[in-house]
C-alpha cells in the first residue's frame, strides 16, 4: 500500500526529529520529576479535608497517588501541543511545500504528522509511568493497556488541537507564549491538583468552592481526561466513568477534522 508507506515516512520523520531534540526530552523527564518529587511529596501530608466539622480524607488516596494520573496528562499536553511547532517550522523553512507538492492526499499527510506527534506525546506520558513505584501506584498490565489507549486518544486530540493553533499563529515566539497560556489554565482547572469532593452534592460543593471555579472545572474537557486516567490508574472517578473515554474520542475525531480543514487551506 503506497499510502501507508507515505504516512509511515511522515511519522518516522516526526519521531526522528523529536528524538534528536534534546531540549524536548529533558523537559519530558524533568517536568514529571518536579511534580512528583516536589509538589507530590510536599503536599502529601496536607491532603485531607475538614468538611462540616468532620475531618476526613476527601478521597481515599495519598496526594501523590491523586496527582499522578494528572501529571501523565500534563506531560502529554505539553508534548502534543509543542509538537505542533513542527507545523510552523515546516511552513517557515519550506519543507511544507515538499509535502504539498507530493501525490499524497492532504488527509494522509496530516494523519502521518499527527500520529508522529501522538507517538512522542504518549512516549513522554510513559516516562511518567516509570515513576509509578515512587508514587505508590500499582499498575497491572490490563490497567496499563487501558491507560495507553486513553493516553493515545488524548495525545491524538491534543496534537490535532496544536495543529489548529499552529495554523492560526505565525511565529515561534507567539506560539510558545500562547501554548503556555492555554496549557496551564486547562491543567489547573481540570481538578488535577485538587479534587472536587464526589461525596458532596453540587450544592455542598458550591459552599466549599466559588461557583465560577466549579463551573470552569466542569466545562473543561481536560477534567474528563484526567478523570479517565485516574479511573484506569488508581481506580478513582469523580465523574461517571464512561464520560472520560467518550470525551477523549470525541476530541480526537473532532480536532482531527478541524485540523484537516485548516491544513487543506494551507
Amino acid at each position: 500500500m503506497g499510502l501507508l508507506g507515505g504516512i509511515y515516512a511522515i511519522w518516522l520523520r516526526e519521531v526522528k526529529r523529536a528524538l534528536r531534540d534534546r531540549g524536548q526530552l529533558i523537559g519530558g523527564v524533568s517536568r514529571p520529576l518536579m511534580w512528583v518529587l516536589i509538589m507530590g511529596i510536599g503536599l502529601n501530608p496536607y491532603f485531607r479535608g475538614e468538611v462540616f466539622g468532620e475531618v476526613r480524607f476527601a478521597v481515599p488516596y495519598t496526594y501523590i497517588q491523586f496527582i499522578f494520573p494528572a501529571i501523565v496528562v500534563l506531560n502529554i499536553m505539553y508534548t502534543s501541543v509543542q509538537s505542533a511547532v513542527s507545523v510552523i517550522w515546516d511552513r517557515e523553512f519550506g519543507f511544507l511545500r515538499e509535502v504539498l507538492v507530493s501525490p499524497m492526499p492532504r488527509w494522509a499527510a496530516l494523519l502521518g504528522k499527527i500520529l508522529g506527534g501522538t507517538t512522542i506525546a504518549v512516549f513522554h506520558g510513559c516516562l511518567v509511568l516509570l515513576l509509578a513505584p515512587f508514587a505508590d501506584v500499582v499498575i497491572t498490565w490490563e490497567r496499563l493497556a487501558m491507560g495507553l489507549v486513553l493516553m493515545f486518544l488524548l495525545a491524538f486530540g491534543l496534537t490535532s488541537f496544536g495543529v489548529v493553533l499552529a495554523s492560526r499563529i505565525r511565529s515561534f515566539e507567539g506560539f510558545g507564549v500562547f501554548s503556555n497560556a492555554i496549557i496551564l489554565p486547562l491543567y489547573f482547572l481540570s481538578s488535577s491538583v485538587f479534587p472536587l469532593d464526589p461525596a458532596l452534592t453540587r450544592a455542598q460543593t458550591l459552599v466549599v468552592y466559588p461557583e465560577w471555579l466549579v463551573t470552569l472545572v466542569e466545562w473543561n474537557p481536560v477534567t474528563y481526561a484526567v478523570d479517565a486516567l485516574r479511573g484506569s490508574f488508581i481506580r478513582f472517578n469523580q465523574f461517571d466513568p464512561s464520560i472520560g473515554p467518550i470525551m477523549l474520542s470525541v476530541m480526537a475525531v473532532g480536532f482531527f477534522f478541524w485540523a484537516l480543514i485548516d491544513f487543506r487551506k494551507a
Binding site: G6, E92, F95, E98
Partner: protein, 326 residues
C-alpha cells in the same frame, strides 16, 4: 484534442492577487523532452506560473495539462509526473541527505529496491556521495540545491520544474547545476522547465518563453527569437568627421557612443561586404555584434532585463525573509 503529445499545455491561465494581475491569459505549449526556459525579470509572474503548474496554487481562469493530466481535476495524478525544485530550499535540514531522499521516495511510493538504487545514482550525479549521512544543516547553499535536484528526480518524473535554480549561488555552483541538467537531458526522457532572470543561462535551452508583467511576450527557440526580434549591429569607428557624416547619411545611426563610434543596423543581407568595399579604408575599426537575447528583451520591452528596479525588488524580498525568520 490530444493532450499527451506535449508535456505542458496551458490555455488562458489567469491569476489575480486583489487588483494586481499576476498572470494574464497565459498560453503555452511545451513539447516532450525539451529544455524549456521561462525568462523574465523578478515579479514577472514566473514563480506564480510554476506554482500553478505544480498544483499548489489555484488559477482563477484557464486550463493546464501536465503530462496529460488536468491540474484542476486530477491534481494527484499530475503531481506524480512532476519533480519540483522550489526557489527557496524545502529540505528538512535536521535530517541527513539520505534521510531526505528516503522520505521523498516513500512519500512518492517508490519501491524499496528502486529507492536504494535511485538514491545511489542521484547522489553520484550531483556529487554528494561523500555527504550521504551528513545532516543537511551543515550543507552550503549550492550543495542544498544539488540535493534538491536529486530529490526531485527520485520518483522518475516526466517533467522537472526548477524555479530560479541558480539564484544566490556562486559562478562555479551555477555552472555545476547546468552541467547536471545537461547530463540529465541526455540520459533520461525528461522535460525540464526552468525559470531564470539570467539571460546567459538560457542560450542552451531548446525553447525560451519571455514573460513580462504576467504575459508571455515571445516564445520560440533562442535562435528564432534572435532572428525575429534581435538586431545585428555594427559598431564603427570612423577616421574623421567627414566619414562619420557620410556613414550616418547612408545607414542612419542607431546610437552614437561617447568615444565617437557609431552603431548602425547591420541586419541587411550582404551588409558586411558592401560596407567594407565602400568604407574599408576609411575607418579605424569595426565590430559586428550578433543579436543576443538581451537585445531581444530590449526590443520587446524597451528596457534592460536586469535593471535597478529588479535588484531593488530582490533586496526587499530578501530583507522581508530575514525579518520573518529572525
Amino acid at each position: 484534442m490530444n493532450q499527451t503529445s506535449s508535456a505542458i499545455e496551458v490555455t488562458g491561465l489567469t491569476k489575480r492577487y486583489g487588483r494586481m494581475t499576476a498572470l494574464d491569459a497565459v498560453n503555452l505549449s511545451v513539447p516532450n523532452n525539451v529544455m524549456f526556459a521561462l525568462l523574465g525579470p523578478n515579479g514577472a509572474g514566473k514563480t506564480t506560473l510554476i506554482h500553478i503548474l505544480c498544483t499548489i496554487l489555484a488559477a482563477d481562469e484557464g486550463t493546464a495539462f501536465i503530462a496529460g493530466s488536468d491540474i484542476r481535476r486530477q491534481p494527484l495524478q499530475a503531481r506524480r509526473n512532476i519533480g519540483v525544485v522550489f526557489q527557496e530550499p524545502s529540505l528538512d535540514d535536521r535530517l541527513t541527505a539520505f534521510e531526505n531522499l528516503d522520505f521523498h521516495g516513500r512519500v512518492y511510493n517508490v519501491k524499496a529496491a528502486d529507492r536504494r538504487q535511485g538514491i545511489d545514482e542521484l547522489l553520484a550525479l550531483v556529487e554528494l556521495e561523500d555527504w550521504r549521512h551528513a545532516v543537511v544543516r551543515t550543507f552550503s547553499s549550492g550543495m542544498k540545491r544539488r540535493l534538491e535536484i536529486a530529490r526531485a528526480l527520485l520518483h522518475k518524473p516526466k517533467i522537472l520544474f526548477l524555479d530560479e535554480p541558480t539564484v544566490g549561488l556562486d559562478a562555479q555552483s551555477r555552472a555545476g547545476i547546468w552541467s547536471y541538467l545537461d547530463t540529465l537531458r541526455r540520459q533520461r526522457d525528461l522535460t525540464i522547465v526552468v525559470t531564470t532572470h539570467y539571460i546567459e543561462e538560457v542560450e542552451n535551452c531548446d525553447q525560451v518563453a519571455i514573460i513580462d508583467h504576467g504575459k508571455i511576450i515571445a516564445d520560440g527557440s533562442p535562435l528564432n527569437l534572435k532572428r525575429q526580434f534581435g538586431k545585428e549591429t555594427a559598431r564603427i569607428m570612423p577616421r574623421d568627421e567627414a566619414v562619420a557624416a557620410e556613414l550616418t547619411q547612408k545607414y542612419g545611426s542607431l546610437q552614437k557612443a561617447k568615444d565617437g563610434s557609431i552603431i548602425v543596423d547591420a541586419g541587411a543581407p550582404g551588409f558586411a561586404d558592401e560596407f567594407l568595399a565602400e568604407f574599408g579604408t576609411r575607418i579605424r575599426q569595426v565590430s559586428f555584434d550578433t543579436p543576443s537575447l538581451e537585445s531581444v528583451f530590449l526590443t520587446l520591452t524597451g528596457r534592460e532585463l536586469r535593471d535597478r528596479g529588479a535588484d531593488e525588488h530582490e533586496k526587499r524580498n530578501a530583507a522581508a525573509r530575514r525579518g520573518r525568520r529572525s
